[in-house]
């Protein structure tokens, strides 16, 4: 019954999305009157999608084995925590989450983006409805999450053990909010081009949504990276895998958009460019989904593979992106030229930032899809980390160097002597560079430059706060400083992890010791342990560095449903790095395989990533608070006028 209810809700929501599009297409008098109706439909459609998703959650919660999706992905024994998360740990459920977010963002846009021309708003909400309609069709026609199983299964097949992790609960929803949030920028850009109004008001309306999805994308990518880092047991945090690139591509576009939208909002420049980025951003989100869901490329994070579904998403994407680009081509000549500016101004630096980000985007996109294109022509080719590191590394460092001066330049201004802050940062970078050479550390040029430029950026990023009283600085400035500081730390962390990681592989018996970097690790025993749906051999390790010791307990886990073994790494976190341990096969007679890594300052990668996301959050909250504060007097005076007119 619940499954049918969810299914019906999906159909109804799809019908409403269609209605939303039709109303948005109305012209003249009827069109002008349609906007309130469109807003109401957007809200109702989101509620129905929410109902469908709640139905799916319920089915997973009660483990209704007569539903095919539940039977193949859940199991009655599973922990309650993962029972619900299993709802989106599969293709159909995750696509339902996607469409729920798409309609949810539509409803939020209808409710909160009010400062725009009605014509722009109609177009934007119509586009959002059209996007939702396509994905409803995808769900209902090729990936129905509510399909029944006849006869019902006796027992669920279980969730892949690697997914039975807190990472599953947070990572996909976070990433999806980021992906789908970009649809708002896409729809607003379409609305603006249809309505012929590309201006600062549009940029100001678009910015909070871009900030929101960028923040979530950052957090999602960081979370996914950390999840892969501890779950796969390889000690790596980024593999330039297609599935990872799928999340990096929209992030790069969103980062560029975030910066160009500021230029449009502050200076009415970069109109056409900003519109193009808004379209590219969500196009990259859809491309990422296509990549992940089609399984066309080899991935260490491979999910279920189904080419037919991939084709469906590809067709949807071609329709939306092709249509959007056609509109862009037709309308862009009518978009007024933006305000002029000097090369050595804030705008100039942001243009350079956008160019660099776009080039990195193009290179990653090319490297990710080149194998697919080549395959269509009969050549079997694959592109791996050597390519990506080579082409993206130097450009990313250029971007870091640009961050030394960019935020210190002022808008519009032609030239100002370099501030003391930038000079100080430059000295810091130079000192670091000299130090790495003087100390005789052997590392690649890229790593050396990464350490130097990252350290310089840590200084440079703080300068905008030092030139005024820090507590007086507006929230967006704080957000920018935090994010740029995060980029500096991240750069240092990446370079340090790459240059200084120490690895140790040993066969150990109880009582044996192994050293890695500054750490001495004692293997005390191999202990059998049991969890709710797994059993494991746990290595009891005692790690010490000078004074004090800490316990580490990596495991070899054997899950019973489905029967799979995984290796659970153990991490010891100190401010200056992480000690990473995994245990392999072994026996009491032959000893146990033990793999240890000491990763100096890998912590800076995690802290840096968190700071970047935090910067986005601070800026977003600051802007929302300010918008509310500005809206309140306006509303109060409107109410006052209303009362007066009585």
């Amino acid at each position: 019954m619940i499954a049918e209810l969810g299914h019906a809700a999906l159909w109804l929501a799809a019908a409403l999305a269609g209605l939303q599009v039709v109303f948005a297409l109305l012209r003249g008098q009827a069109g002008a009157a349609a906007l309130p109706a469109i807003r109401a439909i957007a809200g109702a459609q989101a509620l129905l999608a929410l109902l469908a998703f709640a139905a799916l959650l319920h089915l997973f919660w009660v483990t209704d084995l007569s539903v095919a999706l539940v039977a193949t992905h859940s199991h009655g024994d599973k922990l309650p925590f993962y029972k619900l998360a299993a709802a989106w740990g599969n293709h159909e459920g995750s696509m339902l989450l996607w469409v729920l977010l798409l309609s949810g963002f539509g409803a939020l846009m209808a409710r909160f983006a009010r400062a725009l021309e009605p014509a722009v708003m109609r177009g934007a909400l119509g586009m959002q409805g059209a996007l939702a309609l396509g994905f409803y069709a995808f769900l209902l026609l090729s990936s129905n999450p509510f399909a029944r199983l006849d006869p019902p299964a006796l027992e669920g097949r279980g969730l892949n053990p690697l997914l039975q992790d807190p990472g599953l609960v947070f990572h996909p929803p976070t990433l999806y909010v980021g992906y789908v949030g970009l649809s708002v920028a896409f729809s607003l850009a379409i609305g603006a081009m249809l309505g012929g109004r590309v201006d600062a008001a549009l940029a100001r309306a678009m910015r909070p949504w871009v900030l929101l999805s960028w923040t979530f994308l950052t957090a999602g990518i960081l979370g996914g990276s950390y999840w892969a880092y501890y779950e796969l047991g390889w000690g790596g945090y980024w593999f330039w895998d297609p599935v990872e690139n799928a999340s990096l591509l929209p992030w790069l576009a969103a980062t560029a958009l975030l910066h160009s939208v500021s230029v449009l909002a502050a200076r009415e420049a970069l109109r056409a460019w900003t519109m193009a980025l808004a379209l590219i951003g969500f196009a990259m989100s859809m491309l990422g989904t296509f990549l992940v869901r089609s399984g066309l490329l080899t991935s260490v994070h491979a999910f279920a593979v189904d080419p037919e579904r991939g084709t469906f998403i590809l067709v949807l994407m071609a329709l939306y992106v092709g249509g959007a680009l056609a509109l862009f081509g037709a309308r862009i000549a009518q978009v007024r030229e933006g305000a002029p500016f000097a090369p050595a101004s804030r705008e100039g630096a942001l243009v350079a930032n956008n160019l660099l980000l776009s080039v990195i985007l193009a290179l990653v996109l090319f490297g990710t899809f080149y194998p697919l294109v080549a395959e269509a022509f009969g050549a079997s080719i694959s592109v791996g980390p050597p390519y990506f590191n080579l082409v993206a590394g130097p450009l990313a460092l250029l971007l870091v160097a640009l961050l030394f001066v960019g935020p210190l330049l002022s808008w519009k201004r032609q030239f100002r002597p370099l501030s003391k802050g930038a000079a100080l940062a430059g000295c810091g970078a130079l000192a670091m560079l000299v130090a790495t050479i003087a100390l005789g550390w052997s590392m690649s040029l890229l790593e050396r430059l990464g350490l130097a430029l990252g350290a310089g950026l840590v200084i440079a990023s703080l300068v905008p706060l030092l030139t005024r009283k820090p507590w007086r600085a507006p929230a967006p400035v704080w957000g920018m400083v935090l994010a740029h500081l995060g980029v500096g730390l991240l750069t240092v962390g990446i370079a340090s992890e790459s240059a200084f990681t120490k690895e140790r592989l040993a066969i150990v018996q109880p009582g044996d010791q192994a050293s890695v970097g500054p750490w001495l690790v004692e293997f005390r025993a191999a202990v059998p342990v049991a969890g709710p749906n797994w059993t494991a051999i746990e290595a009891d390790l005692l790690a010490s560095r000078g004074a004090g010791a800490a316990r580490l307990a990596p495991q070899q886990r054997l899950f019973n449903q489905p029967a799979t073994s995984t290796s659970e790494s153990a991490l010891l976190t100190r401010w200056d790095g992480q000690l990473y341990a995994t245990v392999g096969q072994g026996s009491a007679a032959e000893g146990w395989q033990l793999r240890l890594w000491w990763k100096p300052f890998v912590t800076f990668i995690w802290a840096g990533g968190l700071l970047i996301a935090l910067g986005g959050l601070v800026s977003l909250v600051g802007r929302i608070v300010r918008a509310l504060r500005e809206a309140r007097p306006a509303r109060a005076s409107a109410r006052y006028r209303e009362q007066r007119s009585w």
Binding site: W234, G338, F341, S358, S380, I381, V391, L505, G584, R595
Partner: protein
């Protein structure tokens, strides 16, 4: 030198095109010698793989070929496809789903003596996991064998 509006847009367009052209050149240069990142034992046997270049080798683990070497932390095994076999040396912990007769991908480089030195073995996530490249080649090879007589 604040440019006139019309020239500024033109300038930006030219800059963007130059950046993209630069990206294309960089991509082509970056792919030089790095395009064949995924290879099979038969490609190695045919002498089409250059030693010392980082790449991935995919194949099925030959039955009865996994053997520990030395201290018990190093292993030697063979990866095979339909026509050829490559010996792989690996020092480390073998992944949980690494078993004889199923697919695996070794990441590392080819040595001058024709053996493959792996830094990492990928065989994870799913007991049915097979890299698409490998699945397709196996299919193609099967089709060819059937068509051959």
């Amino acid at each position: 030198m604040t440019a006139a509006p019309k020239t500024q847009r033109l300038l930006l367009v030219i800059l963007a095109i130059a950046a993209l052209a630069g990206a294309a050149l960089l991509a082509l240069w970056g792919l030089q010698g790095r395009a064949a990142y995924f290879v099979t034992p038969s490609e190695i046997a045919a002498g089409r793989v250059e030693p010392g270049v980082p790449l991935r080798l995919g194949g099925m683990v030959s039955a009865g070929s996994i053997a520990p070497v030395g201290d018990g932390n190093s292993f030697r095994f063979r990866l095979e496809d339909e026509t050829a076999t490559t010996t792989v040396r690996y020092r480390g912990i073998l992944p949980d789903l690494f078993v004889e007769g199923s697919g695996a991908v070794a990441e590392g480089r080819l040595l001058a003596n024709g053996e493959f030195a792996a830094d990492r073995i990928l065989a994870k996530h799913d007991e049915n996991y097979m890299p698409p490249e490998l699945a397709e080649r196996a299919e193609r090879a099967t089709a060819e064998t059937v068509a051959a007589p």
